[in-house]
Amino acid sequence: MFNENGNRNREDEKLIGVLSALPKVDAPMDFDFRLRARLARANSRGSSWVFIRALKFAIPAVIILGLGGFYLSNLYRNSNLTESVSQVESPQTVASETLEPFQTTTQSNETNGAIAGASPPSVVIGGNKGFSKRDEIASTESSTAVKKRTASDKESRGVSSRDSALSEVDDEVYPRGVSPKKRLETSQNSGTNEPLKVSDLLSVLGIEIETAEGKLKVRSVKEGSVAAGSGVKTGDILMAIDGLEISNSPITVSKFEGKTLNVKRGTEELEIPLKLRP
């Protein structure tokens, strides 16, 4: 073992001798000059380097703050919607029967504010369906809206706004605001069908319209509304709902289910599916 270590030491010494005898390599003659030039360049870049380094921290910070703010604003908006829905759900007046699909009552403007932030009103109609919570609402505004009600609801007709009637639909249970459990009376029993104004119909969706060159043009889209969530934009020309042409003439709303909106945007014609939940 001693020999082994001794041999090893001797070999190490040889190796160390060889390595230490290697000629030293010096820096070139112009080393100082090149270094000065390099330092001068680095100095001139100094401020921009500080800025770039600051950006490395600033950009991620801005992104994180932006995302956080966006998330919080969404949270706030959703909580507002929830509050509005709960306001709308508290019954204003009585309506205790089911309605013929989207033969809405005339509704007051009192609850319009609540509707603005309410969860997307259901405008689906068709068949023997009804809104489960429409029962509880009566309209105060006299309008041309028509609904079929049971006898007990006749008293409350015209009490609450049409918008609130629509928005009180329980979207979670009946996404299109239609309760399959409720049976609707026919128009023969509960009254006559009155044509509904297109503007009123569209305002339920969150669209304010104006007439331009004989066409219906979107003047504004209410934030948080069905139309906003579905992608309807100010300036869109409204062509049809559910494929049926619309104009400014009163319409019989029983024809519409409110599933799609056909618009013209610029030179493009678009079919926008209406999403109940923006």
Binding site: V25, D26, A27, F31, L39
Partner: protein, 192 residues
């Protein structure tokens, strides 16, 4: 007071205060050993000079942060060895990508080929060839053995200094130097 009589610490302090001549003195003291060290690490003179300059640039801009807790030589060699190791790793990546080198399982470069043993007529040429072989052998060591061996056996620094420069324990430093020598002996046995 002439700068030649000042210690490294004092020169750095003067540099922080804006004395460019103090920094020039630092450069003149260390440019050759640093260049030599980097050349032995990389076996590439131009690259060694470039990294040596980069070392001094970093020393200059970080002068305010330099602490006198350890020797300035430790500080500057640490910067230089880090730059060298980064360059070695960069080259290894390039080599892997180009698929030209042989790489063993532990990442050790094994492309060192001992030259033909046929003697050359010119002694100087023989000596030059021998030095090149040794330089290539050193450059073929894995990076974790290369720096300790070069600092200890080529630069002549102490075990403690090498350990401080590489931020290693003394025992680890000695074992790496020992292992590095074993590998070099294997590569250079015909020259020893």
């Amino acid at each position: 007071m002439p700068h030649e009589n000042l210690s490294d610490h004092e020169l750095i302090e003067a540099t922080v205060k804006g004395d460019e001549d103090a920094f020039a003195e630092i450069v003149s003291r260390y440019k050759n050993p640093i260049t030599n060290f980097l050349y032995r690490m990389l076996n590439d003179y131009e690259e060694a000079v470039d990294l040596a300059q980069e070392t001094f640039v970093r020393v200059y801009f970080a002068a305010e942060r330099y602490h006198t807790d350890f020797a300035f030589s430790t500080y500057i060699y640490r910067i230089a060895s880090n730059l060298a190791i980064s360059e070695i790793r960069k080259r290894k990546r390039r080599k892997l990508l180009s698929l030209t080198g042989l790489v063993s399982y532990d990442g050790e470069e094994t492309d060192f080929q001992p030259p033909d043993k046929k003697p050359l007529q010119d002694a100087d040429m023989l000596d030059s060839e021998r030095q090149q072989v040794i330089a290539r052998a050193i450059a073929s060591l894995p990076e974790k053995y290369r720096a300790p061996v070069v600092l200890r056996d080529v630069q002549g620094l102490s075990y403690d200094e090498v350990a401080a420069m590489l931020k290693l324990g003394l025992g680890t430093t000695k074992s790496r130097i020992s292992r590095g020598r074993d590998l070099l002996r294997e590569k250079l046995k015909s020259y020893l």
